[in-house]
Amino acid sequence: MLVTAELVLTASVLVLLYLGWYLVVDDRVAAHRQTSSATDLERAWDAAPAPSPVPEASAPRTGEAFATIRVPRFGADWRRMVVEGTDVEELARGVGHYTGSALPGQVGNFAVAGHRLTHGSAFTEIDRLRDGDVVGVRTAGTWFVYRVTGHEIVEPRQVDVVAAVPGEPGVAPTRALMTLTSCHPLYGSSQRYVVHAALDRTQPAADGVPVELREAVR
C-alpha cells in the first residue's frame, strides 16, 4: 500500500517535471537556438552579398532556410528563419513557409506558420499584432516591409486563409500579401489565429535594416 503511494507520488513528480521541461526548458532552449540561427543566416548573407542584379527567386527546397522574419511588436531582438515547409521538422527550426504559396515580395500570398507555444514559441504574441504593425522579411538581397491589415480566428481546416487571395481560393492575385498562422487558443489548438498583412515597400539588404524595424513599438 505504502509502496503504491510512493510510486504514484514519484510518477506525479516526473509528470510535473516533464511539463516544466516541455513548457519552459525546451521552449527557451529552442527559442534561443532559433534566434541565433536567424542571426547567423543574416550574417552569412551580409558576408557574401548576393550577386547583382539579384537572380529571380526560385522555389526553395523543403527544409531550406531562405528568408528571415522580424516583428518589432514581438520585441526588438525577435527574429526567426523562414524555412520551406510547414511540418514539425521545419517549425522546430523557425517559421515554416507554406509550400506553393508566394515567395517574399511576390504578388500572391506569402504564407507562414509558427508555433504559438512550445518549440521556441515563435508566434506566442501573434494576438498582440495590430493593424499597421510592421512585419519585416529578408531574403539574401532584399528587405520586404509588410504591414498588418487584420486578423481572424478560424477552424483548423480553413485553408483558404492562405490562398493567393485570402478567403477567395482560385481568384488570381493582384497584390503582394502575407499571412501568418498559429495555434489558438494559447494553450490549445482547436482553432487557428491568422494575421494578414500587405507589402508596403522593399529595400535592398545592402542598405541595412529598414527603419520601421528599428523603431520600438512596445
Binding site: 526548458v25 498562422t181 495555434c183
Partner: protein, 62 residues
C-alpha cells in the same frame, strides 16, 4: 520503497542524503537529455498550420 532504500544506503545521515541528492540530479539529467526529448517527439503533432485534419486537434502541439 524509499524507507527500504534509506535503510540499505551505507554511511551516516549526511552520506545518505548526499547519495540521494546525487541520484536525483542524475535522474533529472537523464530525463532532460534523453527521456523527455524522446517522449516529446513521440507525441509531436502540428497545430500551427491550417489544413490539418480535425482529428489532430486532440493533444496537438500549439
Amino acid at each position: 520503497m524509499y524507507a527500504w532504500l534509506w535503510r540499505h544506503l551505507p554511511g551516516g545521515r549526511r552520506a545518505r542524503l548526499a547519495q540521494l541528492a546525487a541520484a536525483a540530479v542524475l535522474l533529472l539529467l537523464v530525463c532532460f537529455v534523453w527521456v523527455f526529448p524522446a517522449i516529446s517527439t513521440l507525441s509531436e503533432r502540428n497545430g500551427a498550420t491550417v489544413g490539418s485534419a480535425p482529428s489532430s486537434t486532440e493533444g496537438t502541439v500549439p
